[in-house]
Subunit: 243 residues, 2 copies
DNA sequence: ACAAAAGTGTTTTGCTTACACCCATGG
DNA sequence: CCATGGGTGTAAGCAAAACACTTTTGT
């Protein structure tokens, strides 16, 4: 056995003598799924589909198994509901109020995910009782789930200003107006069209395509694509994303 | 029994049928304790005081009991080491790598705390094997503790720019130069003396005292005190702290 | 008198904000 | 030909950054 390994086990064993008396708890992951559609930022909720409490909505969640880390639980939970993989997710916060789950002592780690609704992802939602809610029309949820969503919105709002995570909510090709609408609904305030475009162009991380989206107006509006390689290159050179 | 309570229990019981098969795990809290002393930001670490591994340092930590929430564990752990109460603490992130603790599957929630070293808090450290390390001279730690400290530094750096948490690291009365040194070591960059003072004065949340600190120079330098009431009043009126 | 740290304002620069008109097209 | 949304540039205001000399006092 290698020395390094032996050392580690010493640590472990020393700690182990205490392990026996320590309490074990259930650990769950609850997932706030954001989507952007029709100029509105939305969250995906599931209705508890058993009586009573037909009227009670909840985040999707699942329990941690000993064979998984938290990120893996979040991925599994998201995939079980939506069928999606390779989705942007981020750990948010851990909730541990003693009576938060009246059933059994459960600590829950909240994650949030950003998905592109405009793709045909809609079709993939596997649970009938799932429904999208505009973020300012979220109903009362079980446990501390409303609190989780509030925190997720604040986190998204802060982070979208300094990291290009907004693009995760848009289809690959999008118009400037869509991008602006997205930011307006994330930040919950109107932005000036010219200032917004000037800023985005200054960042120089989008490719302007030759195609136009003709659905939104007669004139049509140009489509853009986020150039991730360019963004990474510029980031490495000390460039800071800032909207 | 009230209707509301009954409803909650319905939820709980329905969920309960699944609870039986779910894995339970140990949950620990590890605490990054920051202090500021002699112009340097430091973290408090404990040496594993049993052979072997005398050379291995670690954050302080403890396991969650079913009777506590995470914040309470953090408070208890901090108090056990330092004897301090009413300390600024914030939940940082949860670490769940499967083999992070070779002893037993443990998920750890990291917290960070800001304490004032300059007060006589030094005396209160209850564990002989505890030692302060400059944040850029942290030794190799057990498990993922180095990773936790890195994240805590980044969080502190971000947050100190937009919330007046820096004062938690200073004594009640402090000089402008101490405040500037603190920010310099948190942000890890030199700041311009005049610009810094101008900015701080503009915030208008400090009281300038009549006393001077005579230890740092012949001329002596004026002492200031953070006026929390003033800060809160201004915050309520929409003022944003920003350094 | 001098060393050592404290204290003090102004100018320049860059970024953020405000703001209004023409364009292209489908109906 | 007109209604609708798309596209474009500049000026003003404000916040951030650069910058150097005088003051105090213990030795």
């Amino acid at each position: 056995m290698k020395l390094g390994t032996a050392s580690q086990n010493e640590d472990a064993n020393t700690k182990l003598q205490y392990y026996q008396k320590e309490d074990q708890v259930l650990l769950s992951v609850d997932c706030i799924i954001f989507g952007f559609d029709e100029k509105e930022l939305k969250v995906l909720l599931v209705k508890r589909n058993f009586e009573p409490e037909m009227g009670k909505w909840s985040l999707i969640g699942g329990f941690l198994k000993k064979s998984e880390n938290l990120d893996e639980v979040a991925i599994r939970v998201l995939n079980a509901l939506t069928g999606l993989k390779d989705i942007y997710m981020e750990q948010l916060y851990s909730y541990s109020r003693i009576d938060r789950d009246p059933g059994q002592r459960t600590i829950s780690v909240a994650y949030y995910a950003l998905i592109d609704l405009n793709a045909k992802n809609f079709d993939k939602i596997k649970i009938d009782s799932a429904k999208w809610f505009e973020i300012n029309k979220v109903p009362q949820l079980i446990f501390d789930h409303n609190e989780m969503i509030e925190k997720a919105i604040l986190r998204l709002r802060r982070k979208a200003l300094v990291k290009p995570i907004g693009f995760e909510l848009l289809p690959e090709k999008f118009t400037m107006r869509e991008l602006q609408s997205l930011y307006e609904s994330i930040l919950d305030k109107k932005l000036d069209k010219r200032n917004f475009i000037n800023k985005v162009n200054l960042l120089d991380i989008l490719d302007k395509l030759d195609e136009k989206d003709m659905t939104s107006s007669r004139k049509g509006s140009f489509l853009y694509r986020f150039n991730e390689e360019k963004y990474k290159r510029k980031s490495d050179e000390g460039f800071d994303f800032k909207i």
